[in-house]
Subunit: 428 residues, 2 copies
Amino acid sequence: MSQEITATVLSIGDELLIGQTINTNAGWIGEQLSLIGIRATRVLVIGDDRQEILDALAQVRTDVLLITGGLGPTKDDITKHTLCEFFGTHLVRHPHIEARIAAFFESLGREPLEVNRAQADLPENCTVVPNERGTASGMWFEREGRVYVSMPGVPYEMKAMMEQHILPELKRRFTPPTIVHRTVLTTGLGESHLAQRIAAWEDSLAEGAIKLAYLPSPGLVKLRLSTYANNDPLGARDRVDQKAQQLYRLIPELIFGEGEERLEQVVGRMLKERGETLGLAESCTGGFVSHLVTSIPGSSAYYVGGVVSYANAVKMAELGIPADMLKLEGAVSRPVVEQMAQGVRQALRTDHSIAISGVAGPDGGTPEKPVGTVWIAVAGPHGVRSTMGNFPGSRDLVIKRSALAALNMLRKELLDHPAHRPMVDENL
Amino acid sequence: MSQEITATVLSIGDELLIGQTINTNAGWIGEQLSLIGIRATRVLVIGDDRQEILDALAQVRTDVLLITGGLGPTKDDITKHTLCEFFGTHLVRHPHIEARIAAFFESLGREPLEVNRAQADLPENCTVVPNERGTASGMWFEREGRVYVSMPGVPYEMKAMMEQHILPELKRRFTPPTIVHRTVLTTGLGESHLAQRIAAWEDSLAEGAIKLAYLPSPGLVKLRLSTYANNDPLGARDRVDQKAQQLYRLIPELIFGEGEERLEQVVGRMLKERGETLGLAESCTGGFVSHLVTSIPGSSAYYVGGVVSYANAVKMAELGIPADMLKLEGAVSRPVVEQMAQGVRQALRTDHSIAISGVAGPDGGTPEKPVGTVWIAVAGPHGVRSTMGNFPGSRDLVIKRSALAALNMLRKELLDHPAHRPMVDENL
């Protein structure tokens, strides 16, 4: 195995130090580096301050320094000038980059200001890294075997720059040890119960020199398997795949996808492949499931639309819930949520529908139906099914967990009825 | 002015370096420190590694070092042992803390294990900081005028420890200069154009020794004014308030709130105060506006519901858009979005409505209506208004920016018609 390559992440910005902005960039960069076999050993956050930046640059002891932030067009951004000072160079204007900036603003129907044009001023002795999504270019410096890269702090711009240019170039430059990995996505069981369920399998990973990481987030647990390829990448891939297959046999109902997939993407793909459509009726989730579904590009191929029936009047008028039922059972009940699912399926003439009604909190809970009580129904050509969940946490978490549980319920329904139905809808 | 007190935040944990856990502690600590006049000048994140911790301790140049993480019972207790090594001391068991830990476990009906009891082993020469919410105690050391505090990494435990013990003690120990600040929230103009618009005002801040920070996020720019109180906190508050008032006169239409407020909260409060209701018709935002509105606790007081009319069939059936109009004008057009707003207002019988129809991308753009073209309409007792925006960025950003622009349009409509209307709806 070749020697370990290490990296420091340097995040620049007063807003990070006073908690105005949460530093999500550093963790993302650390994760991406780990996937190509480079280990982030430290993250340093400092303000927009010349001396702090100089000190940080001088203190680097790792092979790579990745800098984010401090490249915006306004006054408090001094990273670029300080990089010039450290590397003993000066700014020169790059006419082709200035032209790109001008074109970018013109495409938005706006005139570039001089501060915008000045983003084409870049240090003479750096390699300019293109920014496909914005106007602040990246800068790549090398000195005494170390690589220093400066990127904008806007996550959307920085991520494209990393993926398209910097990660591939770091791989070429350092040839870090190859790591083979596979991430299996699960939902439906919390971290500690999941760990208990797969304990024996987890113990068996050591024999194949495979490491396991639990990566929990609200409603999901990702299981990341990894091993060094050493001089046998195919053998390493084989070891990891074998263990992943064992996991699929062990917890088939909990696994919904792999890698960067999202549950709404998996469900969307299933619907698209079947040529079937979806409608939504949301109460306590307030449009969040619809937002998740439509966050996937191309979702209009299967998503027809939805009704957010926040008030009971909307549940009655748009979804056909009888007033008696609401009075007798309450809005958070099996009959109401099942009727919501069937009502929206009929109104929007979709193959499938999901309905959700619950108590998201912080108010509105009762001893019988405390905050976190959520009914979910799925309706389709094979009838309607419903279930009740008790989701812990804040309003925000109840909404998120309900949404994932609802999408997962539809996923299971689709798996239970794989047969392709004729392309004629009884509603038409 | 007394000398500035500075702090370093040291976050320890491998999970922070590979993006498994987002480091929210550091920003929160920085914010809390800034509120008592201590400036966090750097955040350092390192792994659970003895040498890294020793290096970090030796490199501190600030008055205060606040350490989080590495104190859990399942870790190797590297932090605690390394602190002993650095301060030349050793661990001793504290019987009263051991008794507290035992009582804590018994209250949960569980037997404490030896690893739990070992959390009562603490360095001999530190001041123990009580943990009201868990079993890992904090540790306060002083050396050569510097304060070093070690806390658990669990945010819920760390925050209580900071608020109840460490912040008050830091204030007593350092009597830091008080900082007066005020954050004004704007939307509707990007960072560089906003900076140009308020340039003269910004230049005038120096005379009052007031600092300005631009804190941009998608669709918003926060403007944070701050100054030292020195020995005249009322005078400092006055200087900041005066400048804020000038800003309100300068860009009244761009300012929607202050501090931690969110636009959906501001609009919700306005509706609630007027006793008026809202309905939504969303196409390209796919339920995201509805999600924002319902993320606010108590939103059911004014939010009736919405229709996500993703397919044209839903626009026709639920919102009364004529098929001819869709064919002639296209779904992304002024007539369609205005009819969507009026249609949903009628269907859900609300006082106000917002409708949005646009091209979120990445596909679906045309030369006439490129990705980012979004029509927004607001309908209410005073008729319907609409506008077109061109929002840059990814699908996700187009959705976010459209949603904020739509909420802001309703906010302005409410401001333009402050008169209370009679509580009779012409729809009823």
